[in-house]
């Protein structure tokens, strides 16, 4: 076998994993790898700051259902990835982060651009590797992709010293079958527990399904729909579970939690059986739930055994993949109608309607709730909306309807501002061959955290539309300050400079619009959608519009 340069071998290994794009930023410790990129079919997308690279990979992964890849050099490049890796970890998104490292002999000497990145990211990577021998590269890269994408997905980091990249290796791509002694994710539910769950489902008078991100990640939407319809069980989702169940379905019961719908929390509190599928029951989701008493039975289906019983006592634990376990549950004899319960829910829904109204001066400018409701009517059935973090996120999550094949991505677990632009770009790269409508929803705060990435949008003429909600405030923190300390107790939440976003967009050659009335938004939105290439619509919202 002809020896191959390790840097080329790395890219060959990525090719074997069907990697199309690597979102990265070069540097000294990656010189050999970047030299190999010149002749590789894998496309390198130069991001404008390493901090956004994992978000690109995340958006790519969520849109394509494949593993996203990001790349950064040693030291500051690697540490810049940290927040993005943690973001992917909290939302269980499969990404592989590759970092350059200083030469092996220099490790531990505080060499130039040296940082212990495997150590720094240990708390929020599913696994990580420091490659010490080039011959291990085929095995490590195969394992990294396997670990990232199977079981409960998550980020895996591979740290590769510069001199390892320069080794000549003879191993080739001989390593195919992954066999990791300590990693054998369980997919099928335990038959005994499934039997117990079936019994509970049959007996329950007021059951609900609580669907989390596990349904979306596990591609189990169809199975969930069949199971819910067969048994007439209403479905509530978490923030990460948006897209698990069509929002126009009669059994759909909204989003739970401190930032969910009021009626959803009331319904959840009234249930006597909660079938949790792939949701973590995080503090934000459960904070408005009061009645988790002993008479509420709790079936918890999750691929990660450690999630079961972590935040909530479980009566019936089922460890397994959402799609597989649902497929196991569907054929079981459970058919129930729950007519009384569904009627009760209808009353709860009517008693707690969504409130769209706003008073002056808030009503003088854009009403963001109405904006997203209208946008639901005007966008395609396969639209992807990427919400950032803040009020923009909650408005878009609650009032933009995810139906048919629409998708909603956001940083739900870590709540990382600046997520939307790079993640939407990643999603856009995943759909270059079959372009679709991709919307970025962000506020003037989150926009400014990642606005350097407009450079990538412009360079690649990505077909993304930015809905920029501006109020010259950090709205959500301001809302918290208002709720906690009272009116006027605002601190550090004013963006004391009214940026001319039109000029900024123009600088990047991005078509832009500025609107301050809902009617005007509705006029320009179809135009923006029709426009080939990126657009930005700045929507002026009154600073005092802080209600969700």
């Amino acid at each position: 076998m002809i020896p191959l340069l390790a840097s080329k071998l790395i890219l060959k290994c990525l090719e074997r994993e069907n990697v199309e794009f690597v979102f990265g930023y070069p540097g000294g410790a990656l010189l050999p790898l970047y030299e190999a990129f010149r002749t590789s079919p894998i496309k390198h997308i130069l991001v404008r700051n390493e901090q956004t690279a994992p978000h690109y990979a995340s958006g790519y992964a969520r849109e394509s259902g494949r593993v996203g890849v990001c790349l950064a050099t040693s030291g500051p490049g690697a540490t810049n990835l940290v927040t993005g890796i943690a973001t992917a970890y909290l939302d269980s998104i499969p990404i592989v982060a590759i970092t350059g490292q200083v030469d092996r002999a220099l490790i531990g000497t505080d060499a130039f651009q040296e940082a212990d990145i495997t150590g720094a990211t240990a708390p929020f990577t599913k696994h990580s590797y420091l490659v010490q021998n080039a011959a291990d590269i085929p095995r490590i890269i195969r394992e990294a992709f396997h670990i990232a994408s199977t079981g409960r997905p998550g980020p895996v980091l591979v740290d590769i010293p510069r001199d390892v990249q320069l080794e000549n290796v003879k191993t080739g791509l001989t390593y195919d079958k992954v066999d990791i002694m300590g990693y054998k994710p369980n997919l099928n539910g335990h038959s005994g527990q499934i039997k117990r769950a079936i019994k509970k489902i049959k007996e329950a008078e007021k059951p609900i399904i609580y669907a989390g991100g596990g349904i979306v990640l596990g591609n189990a939407q169809k199975e969930l729909l069949t199971f819910a319809e067969k048994n007439n069980i209403p479905v509530i989702t978490s923030l990460m579970g948006i897209g698990a169940f069509p929002e126009d379905h009669p059994l759909y019961c909204g989003i739970v939690g401190s930032h969910g719908y009021k009626y959803s929390n009331v319904v959840m509190n009234g249930a006597d059986l909660i079938i949790n599928i792939g949701a973590r029951m995080s503090n934000r989701a459960t904070s408005h739930l009061t009645k988790f008493e002993k008479d509420t039975d709790f079936v918890h289906i999750d691929i990660d055994p450690a999630e079961i019983g972590k935040n909530m006592e479980t009566s019936i634990p089922i460890v397994g993949d959402a799609k597989t376990v649902l497929a196991e549950l569907i054929p079981k004899d459970t058919i129930t109608d729950h007519a009384t319960w569904l009627a009760e829910i209808e009353t709860i829904r009517l008693d707690n309607p969504l409130v769209y109204d706003a008073d002056p001066p808030c009503s003088d400018l854009i009403n963001p709730k109405v904006l997203f409701r209208d946008m639901s009517e005007m966008t395609a059935d396969n639209t992807t909306v990427v919400g950032d973090v803040g009020l923009n996120q909650i408005w878009s999550a609650l009032y933009y309807r995810i139906i048919k094949n629409r998708r909603y991505f956001t940083s739900g677990g870590l709540g990382t501002m600046g997520y939307s632009i790079p993640a939407a770009c990643g999603a856009s790269f995943a759909t270059l061959d079959k372009p679709k409508e991709i919307f970025i929803v962000c506020g003037d705060g989150s926009f400014q955290m990642s606005m350097g990435e407009l450079g990538v949008i412009a360079e690649h003429q990505l077909n993304v539309n930015i809905i920029l909600i501006t109020n010259t405030k950090l709205g959500m923190v301001r809302q918290l300050q208002f709720d906690t300390y009272g009116k006027g107790h605002y601190s550090g939440t004013d963006i004391n400079f009214d940026i001319d976003f039109m000029k900024l967009a123009e600088a990047y050659g991005i078509k832009s619009y500025k609107v301050d009335k809902n009617a005007d938004f509705n006029k320009v939105l179809p135009e923006a959608i029709k426009h080939q290439g990126p657009t930005l619509i700045q929507c002026q919202v009154h600073p005092d519009f802080i209600r969700i």
């Binding site: 150590g119 010490q132 300590g182």
Partner: protein
């Protein structure tokens, strides 16, 4: 109710495995009483014994979180009645011509060994369960303990059962 539990782990000898395990305890706020690590009959594997304190819910979480680590192959609980759990302790006790023989006598009763002698001190090596060691400490305390070092619990299941891949 909080209790002490002894866990036995089989792990792959990979880079950073020990820091992954200790880091897990630190970041999730679990109390670690002791941790011992050593090689096994298989050069690729290490065996770790961890003693932890916590209630049932925390102990279950600890086991699950440990199992989640890719490098961890098996986690079992060493139950007192089904396992041998011992600790090695070196104790340096103040000893002069008048007290030396009394301390030696106590050490003999505990089947401990004298491993170093000087004009003012004795170093005693004792192996045993937590209870035996506590008892020994109580006995030599009046003579003056200068310093001691404890290895932390290590253990094995009784009978033919083995911890394997």
């Amino acid at each position: 109710m909080e209790k002490k539990t002894c866990l036995s782990l089989l792990v792959e000898n990979n880079f950073g495995v020990l820091s992954r395990i200790s880091g897990l305890f630190a970041r999730r706020g679990y109390n670690i009483d002791s941790l011992t690590v050593g090689t096994t009959e298989n050069a690729e594997l290490s065996r770790i014994t961890i003693t932890v304190t916590g209630d049932d819910q925390i102990l279950t979480q600890i086991k699950k979180q440990l199992n989640k680590l890719i490098d961890v192959i098996t986690v079992i609980e060493l139950k007192t009645d089904e396992s041998i759990i011992r600790e090695l302790v070196f104790i340096k006790v103040k000893a002069d011509d008048t007290t030396r023989s009394q301390i030696v006598e106590i050490a003999n009763m505990f089947r401990a060994n004298i491993v170093d002698v000087s004009r003012e001190s004795l170093v005693i090596e004792i192996t045993g369960t937590r209870y035996k060691i506590e008892g020994f400490f109580e006995m030599v305390e009046p003579y003056g303990i200068l310093e001691f070092v404890r290895s932390g619990d290590t253990g094995l299941q009784r009978g033919g059962k083995i911890l394997s891949v």
